[in-house]
């Protein structure tokens, strides 16, 4: 049985040392355990060479001491349950030796039972040992798995931090780009406003000569009618001083005077409305829609466009045809915006006839026609037609593009039709369409809801 005791001590020491890692954590205990191991080896050698019963008791003491130490000492807490495995064997073998010492007869009578019990305790010990080892392995596995998981989650956390940093960087970059784009957009909007304003001023320039002419005429009338009225009054005074007053003539003079004053008012108002129109045309603030007589507006702007062109090109000439629907009624539009559209269409029409005239066509009479028509209760249309050079099919789909122009560099902004299109469609919910035949005619059609 000494061999069994030795093996138990040997494996127990080994078990304690490995599971508690005494070499690292408890160097003092490590020393003691090594000593215990040597002691066990020595004890086994003593068993072999000395035939003494004392070794039996030393084995018991050693085993009990170890189990007791493992059970009682705080440092050995994790291996405390070693007594469960070893305890039965120690008890049985101790009982056997004590029984043999006290009463050998009694011992002999139960020796078989004791030996069997001893075998059972050993089997128990081994079984417990194996199962513990298994548990240990499972626990170790679990621990390793947990460690792995921890490692993984640590890696994931690291990656998360990295990703978050990346996201932050990208977000910052996107924000920067967004701000840049917003800045660019603001600049573009400002540029667009400037361009629109420039286009307005350009068309105002085109208008200036026409306006000067249009204002000069009514002013001449105002001056002339005033002067002639003074003459009439002089004549009236003369008549009244005479002995044989001609009452009929006096009446006639008075009637003429009234008429002249009405003419002065009429032409004064005419000049006034031209100046107002000019101011409206150059104004930048957002204008309001108001019920507008489109016949008047078309008439006014056709004259302005015509005289504007005539002022810059003396040889220019064209027949103007106005065909206005008397039942057009007032239409709610922004007068200066619609004026710009009409002015633009008229200027283009005159330009087209001028281009055709320059080709030297015999018997060509440049003609620009504007007509208005009420289509239904909800819709009216304005047509601007010229018998000029027409629009080639190849550029027809580009005419509303901003900056597209067929005029030589510096003569057209390329914004006229683009702005006109926006004003009619976006500004007034209408439609701007064109019918044309190259070399024959062009007709722009504005349809507006009323």
């Amino acid at each position: 049985m000494e061999l069994a005791s030795f093996l138990i001590v040997f494996f127990m020491v080994r078990y304690i040392r490995t599971s508690l890692q005494t070499a690292v954590r408890f160097p003092e205990w490590e020393k003691i355990l090594v000593i215990v191991q040597y002691a066990a080896s020595g004890l086994l050698a003593a068993d072999v060479f000395l035939d003494s019963s004392i070794t039996k008791w030393l084995w018991h003491i050693l085993l009990l001491g170890m189990v007791g130490a493992a059970y009682l000492l705080k440092d050995f807490r994790p291996v405390r349950n070693v007594w469960l495995a070893v305890g039965p064997y120690i008890l049985v073998s101790l009982f056997k030796d004590i029984a043999r010492l006290i009463d050998s007869d009694f011992y002999k009578s139960i020796s078989t039972v004791i030996e069997i019990a001893e075998v059972f305790t050993l089997v128990w010990l081994i079984a417990t040992w194996v199962s513990t080892q298994r548990q240990q392995k499972a626990l170790e596995k679990e621990r390793l798995k947990r460690l792995q998981e921890e490692e993984q989650s640590r890696i994931i956390a690291g990656q998360n931090v990295m990703l978050e940093q990346l996201v932050a960087e990208r977000t910052a970059e996107l924000t920067r780009q967004k701000e840049e784009l917003e800045q660019t957009l603001t600049e573009l909007k400002a540029t667009q406003d400037q361009l629109i304003q420039r286009e307005k001023m350009a068309s105002l320039g085109e208008l200036t000569a026409g306006i000067a002419h249009e204002i000069q005429n009514p002013l001449n009338f105002v001056n002339n009618f005033s002067e002639v009225s003074v003459e009439l009054i002089e004549e009236l005074k003369e008549e009244r001083r005479r002995e044989d007053r001609d009452i009929e003539l006096e009446e006639e003079l008075l009637t003429d005077l009234t008429q002249n004053l009405q003419k002065i008012t009429h032409h004064g108002k005419r000049a006034d409305s031209i100046v107002k129109g000019m101011l409206q045309h150059s104004r930048t603030s957002t204008p309001q829609r108001e019920p507008t007589d489109l016949n008047n507006l078309a008439d006014e702007y056709l004259r302005l466009a015509y005289h504007g062109l005539r002022a810059s090109d003396k040889s220019f000439n064209a027949t103007l045809i106005m065909d206005f629907d008397e039942h057009l009624g007032k239409v709610s539009v922004v007068p200066q915006d619609m004026g710009r559209v009409l002015l633009n269409l008229f200027t283009n029409a005159f330009y087209a006839t001028e281009q055709k005239r320059k080709t030297g066509l015999a018997g060509y009479q440049p003609t620009v026609q504007v007509s208005t028509k009420r289509l239904s209760d909800e819709q009216i249309e304005i047509r601007v037609r010229d018998n000029g050079c027409g629009i080639p099919k190849t550029v027809l789909n580009k005419i509303y593009q901003p900056f597209f122009t067929t005029k030589p560099t510096g003569q057209g902004t390329g914004l006229g039709l683009s702005l006109s299109y926006d004003i009619v469609t976006k500004g007034h919910g209408g439609a701007l369409t064109v019918e044309t035949e190259e070399g024959e005619f062009t007709e722009f059609i504005i349809q507006l809801p009323t």
């Binding site: 002419h213 009338f221 002639v228 002249n260 003419k263 005289h307 003396k314 000439n317 027949t319």
Partner: protein, 124 residues
């Protein structure tokens, strides 16, 4: 003397009639008015050789005053009437062109009626 005034502004008629009321009443001057070059030509064709003086605006829609001048000077039966041109743009280009086409005088707006009266009297 018969004078034909050509201008697209209709109020010109009232103005002339008042400015020359004494002359008209005295029967010295007889005025007729046309509101476009085309109408003036038609009127002249209806009343051949009656009008000895024509006063025409240059800037009119349709047929311009210069075109009217050219047609009168080239196609009108002799003796050709006196033609005076009136324009709001007193530029030398129009002036030269009018003179080249045979205009007898070149007047700028606003019209100086005293000056015009003298010119008419000298033309008589």
């Amino acid at each position: 003397m018969k004078v034909l005034v050509v201008d697209d502004e209709t109020d010109v008629q009232i103005l002339f009639e008042q400015r020359f009321r004494r002359e008209i009443r005295a029967g010295e001057l007889i005025f007729a008015f046309a509101h476009s070059g085309e109408k003036a030509l038609a009127y002249l064709n209806e009343h051949p050789s009656e009008y000895v003086l024509i006063l025409s605006d240059i800037n009119m829609p349709g047929m311009s005053g210069l075109e009217l001048l050219r047609l009168i000077k080239t196609t009108y039966p002799a003796p050709p009437p006196v033609v005076m041109m009136i324009t709001a743009y007193g530029d030398s280009e129009s002036h030269d062109q009018a003179m080249q086409l045979g205009a007898d005088a070149f007047l700028t707006k606003p019209l100086d009626f005293n000056n015009l009266k003298e010119k008419l009297k000298s033309a008589l």
